[in-house]
């Protein structure tokens, strides 16, 4: 067995894999934040809570009378949570579009507190287990490391979702409308496109992405009311590093930072919690607009 820089390869590749998994969640969440911010000009602080709701919907479906499994959850959870997002947008968010952007942050922060508080009230702070679907149990020995099937699935699936989103936004006519509405909503509305409805659907979609990430995360981490607030601050840092200018930027910086975090866990574990924040500080010094952002 060879060693790399004094680190056994199992540990190195194991952490690299965990990094990629975390990166997948960062990418999906920051992608949703970027899409929402583009059209609504709101930083959706509720995003973490909605990610947590996705995991909880999966858990409910499995433990309800219906006993719907993981694959159903993958389909149903984003739709259910997306609909709650649409209700939130119609009832609350649409009232504050004309105000300073900061009010959007405060409003969604309040909503995040409400949702997290409610779930914590009924389910406490400890995690609820959610088992890996039997089709994806087990794993493969690649020689240099053991690759659990479920983890490989998460990486492949989330990559496909991210690239699919990128394709829709950058390469289809629907995406062109969306980008146009981001640039100049008034003009797009003058062309007869229902911009308010576009905004509603976009918010629902971004929220659905968060919920989808939550379902993917459920078998890896436990389903816990606190899982959202733990990840959302890191995702904010990812967004600051990547800049919210480009969709591809959100995907690349999400995965990239996940990997860097994983590697830090191997070489300097004490800093693994903070490495993304340190990188954020460095990026602010060198390129304040973010790596892929446009200076404004």
């Amino acid at each position: 067995m060879f060693e790399l820089l004094g680190i056994p390869p199992q540990a190195l590749f194991g952490q690299l894999l965990i990094g990629l998994i975390n990166g997948a969640f960062y990418a999906m969440l920051s992608l949703g934040l970027a899409v929402i911010f583009g059209l609504l000009n709101i930083i959706n602080f509720t995003h973490g809570a909605q990610y947590m709701m996705g995991a909880f919907v999966a858990w409910f479906l499995l433990n309800s009378a219906l006993g719907l499994n993981y694959w159903w959850a993958l389909l149903i959870a984003p739709i259910v949570v997306g609909i709650t997002g649409i209700v939130i947008e119609r009832l609350l968010l649409k009232r504050i579009y004309k105000l300073d952007h900061l009010y959007g942050l405060l409003l969604t922060f309040g909503l995040a507190l409400v949702i997290e508080g409610l779930f914590r009230n009924y389910y406490g702070s400890t995690g609820l287990p959610y088992s890996i679907p039997p089709q994806l149990a087990g794993g493969h020995n690649l020689g240099f490391m053991f690759l659990p099937n479920y983890r490989a699935w998460v990486i492949v699936f989330s990559l496909a979702v991210c690239l699919g989103t990128w394709f829709v936004i950058e390469r289809t006519s629907l995406g062109a409308t969306l980008r146009a509405a981001t640039e100049n909503p008034t003009l797009v509305q003058a062309f007869g496109i229902n911009v308010p409805r576009l905004i509603t659907v976009t918010y629902g979609f971004g929220v659905g992405l968060a919920a989808l990430a939550g379902v993917l995360a459920a078998p890896i981490y436990q389903v816990s009311p606190l899982m959202g607030s733990q990840i959302i601050i890191v995702v904010f840092a990812v967004v600051v590093i990547g800049g919210m200018g480009s969709i591809m930027g959100a995907i690349v910086s999400g995965f990239g930072l996940g990997v860097i975090e994983g590697l830090t866990k191997v070489f300097y574990p004490e800093a693994s919690n903070t490495v993304i924040f340190v990188i954020m500080a460095i990026v602010l010094l060198v390129r304040p607009a973010g790596l892929f952002g446009r200076a404004r």
Partner: protein, 326 residues
């Protein structure tokens, strides 16, 4: 500010001071001291959001580091309380220099996210460092003797010490707002490009305001650690940053007394709701949503608006309606 509101401000200040002197004889002093610490914290926070227009979502970092440094130096080095508080404030100010220097490169929403992320670093630092005591925090912090004379273990002595610190901090903020420096800050809030074109180095002004706000937040945290004889992870967690935003929002962003009123309201609310556990978070969230949707001026902001309407409407009033923009 119109004449009417200025007069109202003076009266309200005098009334509040009178209440503050009587209060410890009526209510549990520790409760009032807690509220005073948070009132100072909220005033310091308000200096940034209300007068420079920067929403910091990471003020727990300065509050918490002040709390930890004071608790540690007073307990482990046996420093007198006044030196402990000074050190806590100084470290918070230093942290404010570093974080402020980084954060003012962005504004608006990004500024909020950057400050939140930087503050989370301090949280992880406090969680992992040996001297902060991890999950336990620093407990049983001795209050000691102020200047070697006044025994701070006496509740009333401690109370008037805390009141003195609060008034000092409040006075500093008041002077800052009403100085030429404060007017430049307001100019930056209203129109930063214009302030730049007038020749002001706005980044320096913003950084100085940030450091001042961080230092006073540290002062509040330091004092709090002596009041409760405890520094813990709650002080540096992001929920604390959210709480100070809530206090300022409830009281009224950009008003002088708003944060004080807001702090008392929120602390009282938490005090009565404490036995309901997680419902406190839910109710805080609902208050946030209601404030943003329907009550953006806050309690004090509404009072000021009410008085201004009255002054304008009153026939033959001594002060004529003022030109907009004053």
């Amino acid at each position: 500010m119109t004449n009417g509101t200025a007069k109202l401000g003076t009266w309200a200040g005098a009334a509040l001071l009178a209440v503050a002197i009587v209060l410890p004889f009526v209510v549990y002093p520790v409760f009032v001291m807690k509220a005073l610490c948070f009132a100072l914290f909220a005033c310091a926070f308000n200096l940034l959001i209300g007068y420079v227009g920067l929403l910091s979502f990471g003020h727990a970092a300065y509050f918490g580091i002040g709390s930890y440094v004071t608790a540690y130096t007073v307990k482990a080095w046996a420093l007198p309380p006044e030196l402990g508080i000074l050190l806590g404030t100084a470290v918070a100010a230093l942290l404010g220099v570093v974080f402020g220097w980084l954060a003012i490169r962005r504004s608006g929403i990004y500024f909020a996210m950057v400050t939140l992320a930087l503050a989370q670093m301090v949280y992880f630092y406090a969680l992992q460092s040996p001297w902060t005591g991890g999950e336990d925090g620093i407990q049983a912090v001795p209050r000691g003797h102020l200047l070697g004379i006044f025994d701070l273990n006496e509740p009333l002595v401690m109370y008037f010490f805390v009141l003195g610190i609060f008034l000092l901090g409040f006075f500093i903020i008041h002077r800052t707002i009403h100085s030429p420096f404060g007017n430049v800050l307001k100019a930056i809030r209203e129109n930063e490009p214009r302030a730049i074109s007038l020749g002001y180095k706005t980044d320096q002004y913003k950084l100085l305001a940030f450091v001042l706000s961080a230092a006073l937040s540290g002062l509040a945290g330091s004092t709090k650690s002596l009041v409760f004889q405890l520094a813990s992870l709650t002080d540096v967690y992001w929920t604390m940053s959210g709480e100070v935003v809530l206090m300022t929002l409830v009281g009224g962003l950009g008003t002088v007394f708003g944060p004080v009123v807001g702090a008392f309201i929120v602390i009282t609310m938490e005090n009565y709701l404490a036995r309901y556990g997680s419902w406190v978070t839910v109710i805080q969230g609902i208050v946030f949503v209601l404030c943003v949707l329907a009550f953006r001026r806050g309690v004090v902001g509404e009072i000021i608006a009410f008085v201004q309407r009255r002054t304008v409407r009153a026939p033959g009033a001594a002060t004529p309606a003022h030109a907009p923009g004053e």
